[in-house]
C-alpha cells in the first residue's frame, strides 16, 4: 500500500515539475524544475528496485547535464526579458497536439496485452548483476560507446573554436 502512495506522490511530482519546465518563463527556473523532475524519476527507479540506474540518473542528469545547461544559460545571459515567445494560437495548438498525442498513446497501450508479467527475481537491478551483463554480453557496445564519446568530444571542441579553417 505504501509503495502505491509513494508511486503516486513521485509521479505527480515528476509530471508537475515537467509541466513547470515548459511553462516557466525564466530559463534558469526551467533548469531547476528539470532537476526536480529527474530526482522524482530517480525515486521511481528506486521503487522499481533498480538502484544502479537511479544513482546514474542522479549523477549524469541532475549532476553533469544540468550543470552544462546552467553554464550555457548563464554564459549566454538569457533571462525573462530576452525570452522569445510564440503567438497565443501556436501555444494553444501545441497544448492540443500534446493532449491528442497522450490520448492516442494511452488508448493504444490500454488494449496492449501485458497482464502476464510477474517480477520474480527482484535482484536484477543490483550493481553486481548489471556489471556481469554489461561486461559480458554487452562488452562490444560498451567499447563502441567510448568511441562515440571521443567523437562527441572532438566535435564539441571543433564547434567551439572561433575560426575553423
Amino acid at each position: 500500500m505504501m509503495q502505491k502512495y509513494l508511486f503516486i506522490i513521485l509521479g505527480l511530482f515528476a509530471v508537475l515539475s515537467a509541466l513547470m519546465v515548459v511553462f516557466e518563463k525564466n530559463p534558469v527556473h526551467s533548469v531547476l524544475y528539470l532537476v526536480l523532475t529527474f530526482f522524482a524519476i530517480a525515486g521511481e527507479f528506486v521503487l522499481l528496485n533498480a538502484q544502479f540506474i537511479a544513482i546514474v540518473n542522479v549523477i549524469v542528469y541532475a549532476g553533469a547535464i544540468m550543470v552544462l545547461f546552467l553554464f550555457v544559460i548563464m554564459l549566454l545571459n538569457l533571462n525573462k526579458e530576452t525570452e522569445p515567445h510564440k503567438a497565443l494560437w501556436m501555444k494553444f495548438g501545441a497544448v492540443v497536439t500534446g493532449g491528442l498525442l497522450l490520448l492516442v498513446l494511452v488508448s493504444t497501450l490500454k488494449v496492449a496485452d501485458n497482464a502476464e508479467v510477474n517480477p520474480m527475481n527482484t535482484n536484477i537491478g543490483a550493481i553486481r548483476q548489471l556489471g556481469t551483463v554489461l561486461f559480458g554480453q554487452f562488452l562490444l557496445p560498451f567499447e563502441v560507446s567510448a568511441v562515440l564519446f571521443l567523437a562527441a568530444m572532438v566535435g564539441t571542441v571543433m564547434l567551439s573554436k572561433k575560426d575553423i579553417k
Binding site: 524519476i41 527482484t122 551483463v133 554480453q137
Partner: protein, 106 residues
C-alpha cells in the same frame, strides 16, 4: 520485496511515462528558446528510460537496464554537441530563438 513490487501494476508505469513523453512533445512545440527545447527532449528520453526499466523489472531481464545505461551515454554526448552548436548559433545570430534559424527554408 517480491510481494511489494507486485503491488504496483505495470500499467501505471506505462501511463506515467506516456504522460511525461507527451509533456516533452508539447514543450518542443510550445517554446521558441532552443535550450528549453533541448530540455524537453531530455524529458522525453527520461520517460522512455523509465518505461524500459519498468519492462526490464517486470520481465526479469537485466538487458533492459543496460540499454538504459547506453541511452544515458548517448544523451550525454548529444547534449554536449547540441549545446556547442547552440553557442555557435548564438555567436552568429545573437539569440537562441529557433524561429531565426529559417535560412534552410526552401
Amino acid at each position: 520485496m517480491n510481494a511489494l513490487l507486485k503491488e504496483i501494476p505495470l500499467n501505471w508505469y506505462i501511463i506515467l511515462s506516456t504522460v511525461l513523453f507527451s509533456i516533452g512533445v508539447m514543450g518542443v512545440l510550445f517554446r521558441r528558446n532552443a535550450i528549453i527545447i533541448f530540455m524537453c527532449i531530455e524529458i522525453m528520453l527520461t520517460a522512455v528510460n523509465l518505461l524500459t526499466v519498468a519492462f526490464s523489472v517486470y520481465h526479469n531481464d537485466s538487458a533492459g537496464q543496460v540499454f538504459v545505461f547506453f541511452t544515458m551515454a548517448v544523451a550525454a554526448a548529444e547534449v554536449a554537441v547540441g549545446l556547442a552548436i547552440l553557442i555557435v548559433m548564438y555567436r552568429n545570430t545573437k539569440s537562441t530563438d529557433i524561429d531565426v534559424l529559417n535560412r534552410l527554408r526552401g
